[in-house]
Symmetry: C2
Amino acid sequence: MAFTDASLVALRVFREVAERGTLTAAAAALGYTQSAVSRQIAALERAAGAALLERRHDGVRLTAAGRLVLRHAAAVVDQVDAAARELAGLPSEDESTVRLGWFATAGAWLVPQALVSLGRSHPSITVVTRESSTPALVRALRAGTLDVALIASLPPFRAPDDETPALEAEALVERSLQVALPASHPLARNDFIDIADLRGHRWIAGPGDQLVMGVWPGLDERPRVAHTARDWLAKLQLVAAGLGITTVPAGLVAVVPAGVRVLPVRGGPSEQRRILLARLPGPMPEPVARLAAALRAAVVESWHQPIG
Amino acid sequence: MAFTDASLVALRVFREVAERGTLTAAAAALGYTQSAVSRQIAALERAAGAALLERRHDGVRLTAAGRLVLRHAAAVVDQVDAAARELAGLPSEDESTVRLGWFATAGAWLVPQALVSLGRSHPSITVVTRESSTPALVRALRAGTLDVALIASLPPFRAPDDETPALEAEALVERSLQVALPASHPLARNDFIDIADLRGHRWIAGPGDQLVMGVWPGLDERPRVAHTARDWLAKLQLVAAGLGITTVPAGLVAVVPAGVRVLPVRGGPSEQRRILLARLPGPMPEPVARLAAALRAAVVESWHQPIG
DNA sequence: CCGGGGTATGCGTGGATGTCATGGCCTTCA
DNA sequence: TGAAGGCCATGACATCCACGCATACCCCGG
């Protein structure tokens, strides 16, 4: 079979795989078995006459040919979906709809704040959002499933990925990492914490291998992790309950619950964190530009709020 | 099956049908049986949830839904083909390639003349051309198989078709119909022919029901058609051989073979003929604009040549 | 060396898609 | 008015493809 009449299902499956990074995950998302997905990809590769995926022990990665096909597949699938919507008489996925992806932290303050103000200034723009991990966001951008994404970046601030075409990334803000501790804690009476005082504490960290999320990176001891949690509210409530301390990006300060105090850390290198606004290169549709502006404004606004 | 995963083959078939205007012709062009095409279309209509074609005794016509689907199908198929070309490492159907369609008469003077001059001034532009009947040209434009087409138009100069979106048509030139007769003929000594002198001649006309092509439209007698031919060279050689006379558009004057004289007709209403340059509405790619300019220039240039 | 994450593949079955042949409808022409 | 010839639809097949299931395989980490 020539590539010119590959199956639309195959293209759709391929896009999903590219976005999930795993045949198995894509299969689950599509309601197929892993086997079916594997075969679809195999067929597509046969049609393309080249390997589209590089098989790795932890999933798959796109080859050069794969990226080529992905570009077109995304366009094709979008086009067909547009046709389907128009046929159904639906509002043809308004040009005024923006799909925004974000990493968990941004959902607590930046996203809601920006969307509220955007809703006021440009009520005609619809924003659909979705939380994902950073790699998932990057893949979704490349798969054309997202128009724009908020991505966290830490030193040495490399590009989100090293594929081509490179993503366009604008640094929205750079703030330093801070520490959250119970308001009742003796150290909370000061306006800052000395890095030396961080020793000996119990930490509340992120799940899995993300232990690094939540524990101060410059610690000169092996941290004792008392709890792990993915959810910010849960983490902060654990802090409020005096069960441990954790790190938080400065942006979260404004939405920290009662009983928690957030302080900057003195001594040691300052731990900077950036929030990037990333998208595929190319002309920026007007609604996307509006959303970007709203996000920038929200960042500025948050500076005027008390920073612990 | 939802429309969202219709088959690419079906879309391709559909485009072909839209271009040919007939299931049977599309089948022949694609190497399928008419039955297969019929089923493909049926399946597509089932997926679309609407009739895409209006069945008529002489073929099919697009319904509103059909036009909608055609728009998207053309884009989808193009996109996939582009992917295929890129995969094959081919020059990705240069943006600098223009596909031009023309009706038979234009191929004898306008097209060659314009292409030569375009080739001199913009050698980087590739033009692929194709002769077709006027309705075929119009369908090909709508199916996205041609970028631009030269179309003949006669009074009352209606639009090439009455579908939406309307085609953009620019009148390149308007010339009057003339008569070709043997250089040796007594009437050929004058610089014009009086309409009264057209009586009693033997005519060389177009094939089939196109008798009108070749016989002077204002004749007040039933014409005697001695020969029918589709090819201009054949027609003109028949004229040169003294086997009859025929009508020719003024543009052809410059390329008429020896032994043939072309004269305007006096008396009676002047028979005007227009050549339209037609394309789908939308932004005009730069190479297309160049080609259009070259065609306009060729028209102007031909005015400076002797007009019999 | 086993368990758990990935992907590939043999096997059986059902559906989709071809061809062939036929039938219905319409127009044209003798 | 009947025969011919254009068009499309459809019933009866054959074939093939793509699915699910189960299993094999590979690699890594504890």
